[in-house]
Amino acid sequence: MIEINPESQVSSNNVFEDKLNALVLGVGGAGAKIVNTLSLSACEGLEYIVLDSDVQSLRQVTHCETRQIGKKILRGFGTGASREVAQSIAEAEKDELRKLVGRYSLLYLIAGFGGGLGGGVAPVIAELAAEEGVFVIAISIFPFFCEGTDRSMRATRSQDEMTVHAHLHISLPNELLALQANENANFVELYESSNRMISDAVEGLWLSFFCPGPLALDLGLLRSTFGFREGKCVGTLAVASATGDSRVESLWETLLAHPWLKKGSLLRSAGTVLALFIGKDGFSLGDAEAFQRRIASENPGAKIMLGACTPAEFNSDELRIVLITHPRRTVRNEEKPAPIYGDKELVSLNEVSREMLEKKRPPTRNVPPPPALTNSQIDLLKSQMPYSGGRSKRGYNDPNQGFLDLKITSVGRFDQCEKTYYKNQPIDVPTYSRLGYILD
């Protein structure tokens, strides 16, 4: 457990006059497991609570406080992957939830989306907390591809709702971990590595508010940077540690290869980059400048915020970085560019899912492109057209217009008759038309 120097309080620019406190709230099954792991390395000032409806899931949480929700309706069972049931339970117990989160200044809301309770209750809690003036940092876990499209679609809807209410919403797709991991890696190993990174991030963010350091990063700055309501987006985070003399370069290489940064692409496309350095002595201004230059070279237009803290328990040699990237501020009605598929740029699961929901039905792929004709071919076809010159209102004289081989011609009074053919020729079609005679 890390001790916090009581002298290294948050600066007087903090909005809150009371003592700074934070709640790490895990909602649902995934959130419960993550917070249970986080609470093992508990930070001073952080409280850990797990909220779930499933009694079995709550029984497995052994290191922190648990709260059961929806006792009367669900009677100790889960929501059955129903967001609507979870939302209705949250609405029913709104007052209790408001009381739970309202007394904190910072709320880490951790939930796995795609199921029922996490995706349904967490956005409601975020809304209630924001109404109470709590700064909400939401960390949501996006399901694997193999869990099915239904789960992904539910997760996307929950993600959209959370983005509206949380001040800072970080989405961590499990699939990106899977892409980097070994094929034979099992779920336990993946989850453990993910939980470790989340724990480091939560801890690092919290430490930056409490621990003294050369570069201060307070809650007020976070609020002003991420607290706007319009155009909020989903960010991501990455945690890296390095030791040795060239630790800055090592950190940079680790970040560029980080799965949650999509191998650096999210860093390059970010609008805001928050870099929190956690280390003991030895983190110099030169290191900060070097890092800032590297980020600027990758992403010249990004707003870079650097913070640094020096907790007492850290190894003197270790330098840890918690990087939070936030996309560029966009109005919600703007059309996002289509995702690029390929080996070079990995497609975000979130973007794909949203595109899947919003995408219109593509046109048929059986329509061949119009043939490209040379000028001599165009002239030949024009001369063979049955109409020319004065029939311009039909557009037949457009030299750029393609000419289909199949011509649908009216047969006048024989339209409703059984068609007559001679040697596969439709005899009902006027003879002059079939022979290509041009009548002005």
Binding site: S410, V411, F414, C417, P430, Y432, S433
Partner: protein, 411 residues
Amino acid sequence: MLFKKRKQYATGIEIGTSKICVVIAEVSEKCPFKVLGVGQSVSSGVRKGVIFNTEATIAEVRAAVADAENLANVSIGEVCVGITGGHIKSAFSVGEHMLESADGRVTEEDREDALKNAIECPPKEISESVLVLHRIKQQPLLDGQLEEPGLNARGRILTQPLYWIYGNRNQIWEPIKILQDLCLEPKYPVFNGFAASIALMDAEQRKKGGLIIDLGAGTTEFAFTHGGCIRYAGSLSIGGDHVSNDLALGLKLEIGVAENLKTFHGRAICDPQAKNALLPFKTPNGENKSVRFDYFQIIMELRLKEIFQIIRETLAEAGLQLGPDQGVMLCGGGACIQMISSLASSVFQAQSWPFCLNHLDGICDSLKKPEFATPIGLARYCASKMSRKTGGPLANVFSLKGLTGKRKERE
């Protein structure tokens, strides 16, 4: 006696695409064939020779029959109805018979046996779904050579070709049922081209051979005769309506206006002097308009030429071609188009025989028009059947009895 003492009345009914025509003729000892009356009505329930609106056709046939009966002042009974449409097809069968007489001479019994063999071996196209209209005896072959007309020829194998004309069973029964509903006795369904050849060709022309083309509104029938019998016959679902349709689409006219212009100004071969000339006309609304006369003639020529070319190609595929002394005779409403005979002559590369019904007695001059050729031929067929001792094909529900037995008058 050849004829019964009391008078008999032979009726031919043609249910065409544009009109329904009924011809009533008297069959008696004094005059084998005398046309008493003709009744006509507009046909609105027939398309391309096939009845699609039975109720309308019944009413129109009733009106035409009533007109004819009023004019002839008789009440008709047995009727010969014309059958046409694109479903009419034809095929050959061959019957062979080994001559049994010791001297190898051909006897009457040999001919009958050869004919029987030809009847009993129908073409593979003859099935349950088709109805046979005619089985026309062709010239028999003796040891592969055409048999001399007289008897007492010698040989080993007598071959009797038989030409079958058949069509879709349902479509043939449709006009018969209509006439039965009108309490008439449709005894003889006859292919229109067959009837036209009966009416138009005299014995000499039939022997010489020639091509009869009936240019109707919805269909065009043709029959190629040679050696006194029909060698090939067929029906195309193309007719004068296609010409009017082409004019309406090409010149942007109403179909009625196109029909009128075709009737009054139609020409089968373009007139070089008509280039850039205008053909004025009045629309039903009373507006004065005009169309390019050369385009008008071009459209007509192309369509009519195409019809003749199709007939020529069909005959060529059957291995038939008009000889130097053979000719083309046109009938039907389309025969009234100017220069149509010249066009047919140029396409078939044969002489064009002018339309003539003078060899038939008992027809007044007003009826000696191309459009009456088929119904007169139907009535004449009916009269020839009634003159025989046995009934026609319909009397025994299309059995084969009518064609076996005594040597019949060559059809």
